[in-house]
């Protein structure tokens, strides 16, 4: 029981981390950035390459660099890179649409195009093979943590700790810092926020960068804890993250966290006989959530003004 709970929290915390990026972008622009799932994969691959020193392996032949960075440093660089990548995606696929006040759905399509592009570029570079981190290379992490009846892999504990720490930090930042307030103001009404002297465009770029960094972090954590089963794996997580933000309330920061943890728990508690249906858990929650409480767990009710 407690075992399952911890299992669920562990994966749930990563969902939360990843979904937070979606939620941030949604709260600001009211759109969903599908490319996020691809950035997630890019981040995971980049960290892997920096950490193990191997690049390519698809159409690009495999080559190994002599230097290998530590896990932490690789992760840092990858997060920075993905932050830049995400900001770049904003520039290329979102900003032109925003300037034209295009339909929200169009963002979905253009970010989807970016996702297809990135995933297939990864496929060209890395091929579809599974990549695994060399866990022994991460210092201070035991393989197995045993506590009475409960067994957790060391990496799971790391994932849980890192995700919860980052989540807590972010929530504090959004609640209390000036940046958080500025973001919330932009989310509420970009035009008014602009009049108040908040640099709206810069806020949006920062948000995208942050969501990119979070995607990279989540991707790396998942990849180190489990594996990178090919470039497509980010999109699946992207879908789950969508379920998470709907469950928690679109664009609600703490909602995304709650939703992520809940999804992890629900998945963990699927009885063994029905493990084939585990994939459907996220979507069933998404569906039922929308039916019963469309505004999400923590969202405010949507009022239509006559």
């Amino acid at each position: 029981m407690l075992q399952t709970l911890l299992n669920g929290l562990c994966i749930g915390s990563v969902y939360a981390l990843f979904a937070l990026g979606y939620a941030l972008v949604f709260s600001l622009l009211g759109v969903i950035n599908f490319a996020q799932g691809a950035v997630f994969a890019v981040g995971a691959y980049l960290t892997w390459s920096l950490n193990t020193g191997s690049w390519g392996g698809g159409q690009v032949p495999l080559w190994e660099t002599s230097f290998r960075l530590s896990f932490g440093l690789s992760l840092g660089i990858s997060m920075l890179f993905c932050a830049g990548l995400s900001a770049f995606i904003e520039r290329v696929a979102f900003e032109p649409l925003r300037r034209r006040r295009a339909e929200p759905l169009l963002y979905l399509v253009s970010s989807l195009g970016v996702a297809i592009l990135l995933v297939n570029a990864l496929l060209l570079i890395y091929g579809a093979e599974t990549r695994n981190f060399d866990l022994e290379a991460i210092p201070f992490i035991p393989v197995l943590v045993e506590w009475g009846d409960i067994r957790l892999r060391g990496i799971q504990v790391l994932i849980l700790a890192v995700s919860l720490a980052v989540l807590a930090l972010l929530i504090l930042v959004f609640r209390f810092s000036l940046i958080g307030k500025a973001l919330r103001a932009v989310a509420e009404n970009p035009a008014v926020a602009g009049l108040l002297g908040i640099p709206v465009q810069r806020c949006i770029v920062y948000t995208f960068a942050l969501s990119g960094a979070l995607a990279s972090l989540a991707g790396t954590l998942v990849a180190s804890g489990f594996s990178i089963p090919g470039p497509h794996f980010g999109l699946l997580f992207g879908l789950k993250a969508l379920a998470v933000i709907v469950l928690g309330g679109m664009g609600e920061i703490s909602g995304a966290v709650l939703g992520g943890l809940l999804l992890g728990l629900f998945e963990a508690f699927v009885p063994a006989e029905f493990s084939g249906y585990k994939e459907a858990v996220a979507f069933t929650l998404l569906f039922l959530g929308l039916m019963i409480r469309p505004q999400g767990l923590l969202g405010r009710p949507i009022l239509e003004k006559l």
Binding site: L108, A121, A280
Partner: protein, 565 residues
């Protein structure tokens, strides 16, 4: 070298069909991505049924599956999808926009996982060796071509029919549509179900085409692809979905020479298309450009007969409001209001801002539920009736903040209110548009919008927009017309014109008019009786003269005599 073979053409038609299946719900403003789920279901139905039929009813060794059975499958799939979608529609269609998209996306994945796990769907392998309809694969082109022609022309008929007009009205403004007598829930459910039927029959044909069927046929990716079809092709007409589906499904095959790079190129093209073709390849009102001026059909000698739907009952009291109270949370907007309307009178509702006038309108038209009290229309208790139901009964309104279908032409705006005339059933798809147009043109001219029929409603000036709202309400043949500030923002000349119009309505057509207006001279000059509200309570009721001299009114509202003119 670019080569297109028959299978690519078949795929293009198939994807065009699926594009249409996404477009049909979108016509009524719902972005439903559920098509792949129904596509999967249709395919499984065909796969299971035809395998069973081939095993049990056909002599063994029959190579070609008879097309009569195919027709049975198509009919069954259509029925099944319709029933499923109709039931589901009632549930999911409360959601809007991105929420509906996500819910339907979830539906697709749920169906996929179910099919993967169930016994009788064949698990991961699915069902294979599905009986063939044709010996040659090329021949499937005809099947898909016929399906495509049938579906496309059906949808074009639907688009042009009164239902299509209703769908489009809902897409732009659900409230306005309901106020014109369109039943939003029913229309949306129907649109959803039609989309599902198209996806289902496409699934049937595809199962035979592919020879095998499994849970992977409809998944998240296919939903997203369909969305891309419609967005890139253009979400405004059926041809957008068709064109998008055909282009995007042919693209990876055309790019085949690029081998490994083709999906990268595919992705880039999608980004570029969404950036540089924001309205899609087939823009909105694409065909209208070539349409002749509809006002040429205007017949200056014709005019609609006066209508009377209440009948010649003893009802001198056309509408009765009894002890009406409306609360919003702790706020009491209307308290214990009581008055009635005589047939054929012009009734004014005045009061300072926030007095509850518009709330009274909202209650009468059904947008706001009464917290207590009753509303009777010709002795029928309509307190619980929905908006569109009341509109069909003859209670029509205009909106203070204008709720026109801004992206549609003036004529289409008026025509959107003819929904209540239409018979049910298939006949309504091809019903003669002529008489409706004739009447719409009459009201257009009646309200002084001559020469504006083809313009976009959103492009009209403010006064014309108000007149258009009125013309639209008239098209629905009101018994009671609720006008919310009909002359706001008009100049003196326009105001007197509107005054004439209102009088004419009462005198020629016997319409009972209730109006909210801040322009007091108009109210005093026009109305037979006036009710004065303050803080949600009725403080005076009577003829203009009585109101003018009513001490409570002077004290509470009018303040000084100058304003009374």
């Amino acid at each position: 070298m670019l080569e297109i073979d028959s299978f690519v053409l078949i795929t293009m038609l198939q994807q065009a069909l699926l594009g249409i299946s996404l477009y049909v719900p979108l016509m009524s403003g719902q972005l439903s991505l559920a098509s792949p789920a129904f596509y999967t279901i249709g395919g499984y139905l065909a796969a299971l049924l035809s395998s069973a039929v081939a095993k049990n009813y056909l002599p063994s060794g029959t190579e070609i599956y008879p097309w009569t059975w195919l027709l049975v499958e198509l009919a069954l799939a259509a029925l099944l999808c319709f029933v499923l979608a109709y039931g589901m529609g009632r549930l999911v269609l409360r959601l809007r926009g991105i929420y509906l998209a996500l819910a339907t996306l979830a539906l697709v994945e749920i169906v996929r996982v179910l099919c993967l796990n169930l016994e009788w769907t064949g698990g991961a392998i699915g069902i294979f060796s599905i009986p063939q309809i044709y010996a040659e694969q090329q021949s499937y082109l005809w099947l898909f071509f016929l399906l495509f022609v049938a579906v496309a022309s059906g949808v074009v008929c639907l688009e042009r029919s009164v239902h299509g007009q209703a769908f489009r009205a809902l897409r732009e403004d659900e409230f306005a549509g309901a106020a014109m007598g369109i039943d939003p829930a029913r229309c949306k459910t129907l649109a959803f179900a039609f989309g599902a039927v198209i996806a289902g029959i496409t699934g049937v044909a595809s199962a035979h085409l592919l020879n095998t069927w499994n849970a992977r046929q409809g998944n998240f990716d296919s939903s997203i692809n369909l969305l891309a079809y419609v967005m890139i092709g253009g979400p405004w007409s059926v041809w957008g979905g068709v064109l998008g589906g055909m282009l995007l499904s042919a693209l990876p095959e055309l790019l085949r020479p690029l081998q490994d790079y083709r999906l990268v190129v595919n992705g880039s093209l999608i980004v570029l298309a969404s950036l540089y073709l924001p309205k899609g390849l087939v823009p909105d009102r694409f065909w209208q450009r070539w349409m002749k001026d509809p006002e040429r059909d205007f017949d200056p000698l014709w005019k609609p007969d006066p209508w009377n739907r209440v009948g010649s009952t003893d009802a001198t009291k056309l509408l009765e409001i009894k002890a009406l109270t409306v609360r919003f949370g702790g706020l009491v907007a209307v308290k214990d209001l009581q008055f009635d309307l005589q047939k054929g009178e012009i009734f004014g509702l005045i009061g300072p801002n926030g007095a509850g006038k518009t709330t009274v309108f909202n209650v009468l038209s059904g947008f706001v539920k009464a917290s207590a009290g009753q509303v009777l229309f010709a002795n029928i208790d309509i307190t619980e009736w929905s908006v569109y139901h009341r509109a069909r009964l003859g209670i029509l309104r205009t909106f203070q903040n204008l709720r026109l279908l801004r992206q549609q032409s003036v004529l289409d705006n008026i025509l959107s209110a003819r929904h209540r005339f239409v018979s049910k059933g298939l006949g309504s798809l091809v019903q003669e548009r002529h008489s409706a147009r004739k009447e719409a043109l009459y009201w257009l001219h009646f309200c002084g919008l001559k020469g504006q029929a083809r313009r976009l409603a959103g492009d009209l000036n403010y006064g014309d927009q108000r007149r258009l709202e009125m013309a639209r309400a008239l098209m629905a043949h009101p018994e009671i017309l609720l006008l919310d500030e009909p002359v706001a923002g008009m100049n003196l000349k326009e105001k007197s014109g509107m005054q004439q119009l209102i009088l004419q309505l009462r005198d020629e057509f016997g319409i009972t008019v209730v109006l909210i207006e801040h322009h007091v001279p108009l109210v005093l000059g026009l109305c037979d009786r006036i009710a004065v509200l303050n803080f949600g309570q009725l403080i005076a009721l009577g003829s203009p003269a009585e109101i003018q001299n009513h001490p409570a009114v002077r004290a509470a509202y009018l303040g000084d005599d100058k304003e009374l003119g």
